[in-house]
Amino acid sequence: MRVVEKRQLLSAEEIGRTLSRLAHEIVEKSGGAKDLALIGVRRRGVPLSERLAKQIRGFAHADVPVGTLDITLYRDDLSTIGQQPVVQSTQIDFPVDNRELVIVDDVLYTGRTIRAAMNGLFDLGRPRRIQLCVLIDRGHRELPVEASFIGRSVQTSDTEIVEVRLQEIDGEERVVLVDRVP
């Protein structure tokens, strides 16, 4: 099985513009930045949530706390896989009770990661509302989960993979669609 790049979905500039738009949408639809907090899902949701928070702080002049969530312990496939995945730390150093939380992830696919993320957040308290922000929505949902803020919706086939590459993690900045070929 080989992996080939089919096309670029977003350039570095387009990622920047998209995040800027998403930041404004989040503040607008959350009734301001008061009570707002962003939760980045490991791994690539983390730098995305930090970038969004920085933008919001810049134009809304409000302190938006950012937390990091690892969903490993909440996955629904742990009893079916052989070796247990490594657990990373969850760092949410503020009370989530009565907060307007926005979960931030790079790609929305089956919806299972987001289901796990919501379970993880409920263990920390009772947020007033949870919304979801993703850079790419690629379809193929297996659960009734939809995003409130979407960077770009992309039609994909089952064998394709959306790769979000971010400077902080991958040393480059773009989103590409790749395919697995036999």
Partner: protein, 323 residues
């Protein structure tokens, strides 16, 4: 990445990479202890057998709490009520437990080597919760985690262990673990409890019989409980032990000013340790207890979790794979 652990029998047979992995994996579970809602469903449907053939309070509670917080069920066998009292052999007892299909078994036994004996005969993961005078690996792991947390790292410290080293499985597990990280270990206590041969146990181990010399320059002082129940002929009268080896505030001043004091518990105040030291700012005793939960949760997650060996269809699942 990491060679898959199938059992945890001792620290002697673990590599330093495996130990570092377990300590790293305990970190998210340390954070978890501060959650308002301390209940996961991660090991829902799994069962952990707790076979304590020797009485235990804190280790048994720690394991059962760790299992409960991960969502696993436990079945407990207690020494006092066990069929051992009726003459059943160890292997028959554990085979009976195994027939109830637990996903792992935690064993404490008065005989050194009992967990390994069981591990060779059962299909499920075995965790040693203390065997005779041999090993108590989860205690050494939680001690290492406490040292790493309080002092920033594990490597290179001077660690002094005080007490009855010869009969202590806690000391033995700690010596094997710490020596893999370049820790210089000083063992100190009455000569009949700290024979010179213990220096051969691992690298960087020295035996010192004078406490002042043993504490000089120590970064960590581990105080062991004087195990009156394990020693049938008290080799030393309590006041002699107190005079020679009790960790007092004055003696602790011989160690480094920021030296960390550890004790595996239960503490016998006024015997091996002075209350002012046990409750003082340098004591890590209560962190050790909390860290024990984190270590045991990490171990149960990695050893008991996942598909059972005889699972019919190891499902291929793309759903949680990150894109």
């Amino acid at each position: 990445m990491l060679q898959r652990l199938s059992h945890l029998l001792g620290t002697e047979t673990l590599s330093s990479e495996q130990i570092a992995f377990i300590l790293d994996q305990a970190k998210p579970f340390q954070e978890f202890q501060r959650h308002p809602l301390k209940k996961l469903a991660t090991l829902r449907g799994k069962t952990v057998a707790l076979a304590f053939f020797e009485s235990s309070t804190r280790t048994r509670i720690s394991f059962s709490t760790a299992a409960a917080r991960l969502g696993a069920d436990t079945m407990a066998l207690q020494a006092e009520s066990s069929s051992l009292k009726k003459g059943e052999s160890l292997i028959d007892t554990v085979r009976t437990l195994e027939a109830m299909r637990p996903d792992g078994i935690v064993i404490r036994h008065a005989s050194s080597g009992a967990p390994e004996f069981v591990a060779r005969r059962l299909e499920i993961p075995v965790i040693n919760a203390g065997d005779g005078t041999h090993e108590h690996p989860t205690q050494a792991l939680l001690d290492a985690l406490t040292i790493r947390d309080r002092k920033g790292k594990l490597e290179g410290w001077n660690v002094t262990i005080l007490g009855d080293i010869l009969h202590s499985r806690v000391a033995r597990s700690n010596i094997h673990l710490l020596s893999k990280f370049g820790v210089r270990i000083t063992l100190c206590g009455p000569a009949m409890w700290v024979p010179r041969e213990l220096e051969k146990l691992a690298a960087n181990v020295r035996v010192v019989h004078r406490i002042d010399e043993a504490l000089d320059g120590a970064d960590v002082v581990m105080v062991l409980r004087v195990q009156t129940e394990r020693i049938h002929e008290p080799a030393l009268a309590p006041d002699e032990y107190i005079a020679g080896y009790q960790l007092t505030p004055a003696r602790l001043r011989l160690a480094r000013p920021d030296a960390l004091v550890l004790h595996p518990g239960p503490i016998v105040r006024g015997l091996e340790i002075d209350s002012a030291v046990a409750d003082g700012p340098q004591s890590g005793v209560l962190e050790q207890v909390t860290n024990g939960l984190a270590i045991r949760m990490a171990l149960l997650y990695h050893l008991i979790g996942g598909a059972a060996a005889d699972a019919p269809h190891p499902a291929k699942d793309r759903s949680n794979a990150s894109d």
